[in-house]
Amino acid sequence: MSVDTSAAVRSHEENWQPVLELAVEEVFEIMLGCRVRPTSKAEHQAGGEFTAMVGLAGALCGVLSVCCDAQTASRLARRMLGDIVESEEQVSDALGEICNMVAGNFKNKLAGMDGRCMLSVPTVISGGEYEFRSLTDGDTLDVCVLFEGAPVAVQLALHG
């Protein structure tokens, strides 16, 4: 008998949705000093001017992304670093770091992942005219939170 232990199946069986929500909440609270709660993605569509991505490889395979509009990305960066944030590069760095911490915090909360899942260095896309699509074929977990009233969308797209 074979047992399917793919990430997509495990995400269903172990219900990873609340784990991802907690990972997001903790990063916002600890690093940004801001309490956030998951909200409806349908009601709050995050603008896509900034998208940060971190790849996951190994026992857990996929892409974690954090997406928001430019003004929100700038406010996130200022919340992390204060008024020294001046350039778009610093804003990208901040969003990439948030994405990196959410991905790390999430995988650290999963049982049995000890050292078997690696994270890539973050990549950040900025601009108005692009579409972000991960070529994953498994489950997708979505968390949308409001940061100072603006939506920030976190998505974990898993390989099957």
Binding site: E26, I30, M31, N108, D114, G115, L119, V121
Partner: protein, 115 residues
């Protein structure tokens, strides 16, 4: 970005920073250590070019860095990463996300009298 946040956390924790030398990856950090004498090394694990574990393993080749305490600050929270980092020579391990208090808690003991 993270380097600035760590610097701010150290200052918030009351640690006096006379000079901060930054590097974007392990290879750059080895070069910076050849040029500068420091009291403390803070580094991530996930870095381009040369990761933090390799950097810590190679640090013994830099005369300036001998005996300088190393504290890892990283999203890699698994026991195996902690063991690898400590085996390679790190003296402390801080998981992201972190608070300034956590930075203080791990950095102050390794700095000892230099604080």
């Amino acid at each position: 970005m993270m380097r600035k946040i760590v610097e701010r956390s150290l200052r918030q924790a009351g640690i006096d920073l006379e000079k901060v030398v930054e590097a974007a990856n392990g290879a750059e950090a080895l070069g910076a250590l050849r040029e500068n004498k420091v009291d403390l090394i803070l580094c991530d694990i996930n870095m381009p070019v040369m990761d933090g574990l390799e950097f810590v393993r190679q640090i013994g080749t830099v005369a300036n860095a001998k005996g300088v305490p190393i504290v890892m600050i990283t999203t890699e929270g698994s026991e195996s990463h902690v063991v690898q980092a400590l085996s390679a020579g790190a003296r402390g391990y801080i998981r992201k996300p972190f608070t300034p208090d956590q930075v203080k808690e791990h950095v102050v003991p390794v700095l000892g009298k230099k604080l």
